[in-house]
């Protein structure tokens, strides 16, 4: 009974989204999208080869590129589809694999520390920073943005993403379930 209560409490205020992903017929890459309470969040798989090509073209070393693609990379789009401003803060988002505790998404700053240790060029690091999904932003109605987010999960392991935003002075949460990395 206590477990049931705790579970219900944990789900309270969280909108579930277990929709089937869209599949790109040409690439086979999948997208998960949820629209709710004035926000749209979409995750699209980016394959290791795509991420590798992108960062090598930005001037990253092979070592840094391999470090990055060792994690699961998603193109992330957030859009204000409502009529009041919304604010997201990536530090509040969590991803959860079954049976494990929630994880935070590695920040741009966290990645930049790794790039500095690897001696990556400043121009490559600048491009990297702007290619990631912004750490925090306020979106007026109609505003949107896209950028990459990374998840340190095994490729064959599904995870849930809990996203958080503020609107009208309140904090809201949503969930995209059963997200999976690209196969390679």
């Amino acid at each position: 009974m206590r477990l049931l209560t705790l579970t219900l409490l944990a789900l309270w205020g969280t909108t579930l989204s277990a929709a089937e992903p869209d599949v790109d017929p040409d690439t086979g890459l999948r997208s998960w999208q949820t629209d709710q309470a004035g926000i749209q969040v979409r995750l699209t798989q980016i394959s290791s080869d795509q991420a590798r090509a992108f960062y090598l073209a930005r001037g990253f070393s092979a070592a840094a590129t391999e470090r990055y693609v060792a994690e699961c990379v998603f193109m992330t789009v957030v859009r204000n589809i409502g009529d009041t401003p919304i604010q997201h803060r990536m530090a509040d988002w969590r991803y959860v694999m079954s049976g494990l505790s929630p994880q935070t998404i590695r920040s741009k700053t966290g990645w930049d520390q790794i790039w500095k240790k690897l001696g990556e060029k400043e121009s490559a690091r600048i491009a990297f920073t702007w290619a990631q999904f912004p750490t925090t932003q306020i979106f007026a109605p109609g505003d949107w943005n896209q950028g990459m987010t990374t998840y340190n999960v095994p490729r064959d392991q599904p995870f849930n993403l809990k996203f958080v935003w503020r609107a009208d002075g309140k904090t809201h949460t949503g969930l995209i379930e059963d997200v999976r990395c690209s196969n390679e």
């Binding site: 040409d26 997208s31 394959s47 795509q50 992108f54 999904f133 932003q137 943005n145």
Partner: protein, 181 residues
């Protein structure tokens, strides 16, 4: 050859990142918006940068004109998609006290030309180079693309985060309203 390889790589990757298939067929691209958000007028931060020909541009010298300032990069899919509409907007408002400045973050002239050469129309507005992304910090920009509208008094009066269809009637109307002030 290296340049060709880089170009080919960029086309494939940018296509995929923006929701295009390898074959170039549009698959569920995030739509471009067509709104500008009114902001409480504030003096615009300084903006002094060189364009691709080495000519210096200073926003403070454009007082008396309405200026659309767009922060972008060639590897940013919505930035690429909205760029032609900025040129159409420029043509639509030709002869009026209106200017566009496109501030590129961190890229070389070669990389930018590689992109602009693929566009159907030549861009008539200057592309300014912010190699160290200093202006982005001064303007407190969190993501690309971000666009601001500066009025004739040099105040930021409207903004847009994310890709826009700049020649959409809603955007043109908003700019004309500021032009009349």
């Amino acid at each position: 050859m290296n340049r060709l390889k880089r170009w080919a790589g960029q086309v494939v990757v940018l296509g995929l990142l923006s929701g295009l298939s390898v074959a170039g067929v549009a698959v569920d691209l995030p739509p471009l918006s067509h709104s500008l958000t009114k902001l409480t007028p504030k003096p615009a931060p300084a903006l002094m940068l060189n364009d691709m020909k080495g000519v210096a541009h200073d926003l403070s010298q454009l007082k008396g004109r309405v200026v659309l300032i767009n922060f972008w990069a060639t590897w940013c899919p919505p930035c690429r998609r909205e760029m032609p509409s900025m040129e159409r907007l420029t043509q639509q408002l030709k002869g009026e006290a209106f200017s566009v400045l496109a501030v590129n973050v961190g890229e070389s002239v070669n990389d930018i030309e590689l992109f602009t050469s693929q566009l159907d129309a030549d861009l008539s507005f200057p592309i300014l180079l912010d190699r160290s992304s200093q202006s982005m910090q001064a303007w407190k920009i969190s993501g690309l693309p971000t666009t601001y509208l500066v009025d004739k008094k040099g105040r930021v009066v409207a903004g847009a985060i994310g890709g826009r269809e700049f020649d959409h009637p809603d955007v043109v109307r908003a700019i004309r309203t500021v032009l009349k002030q």
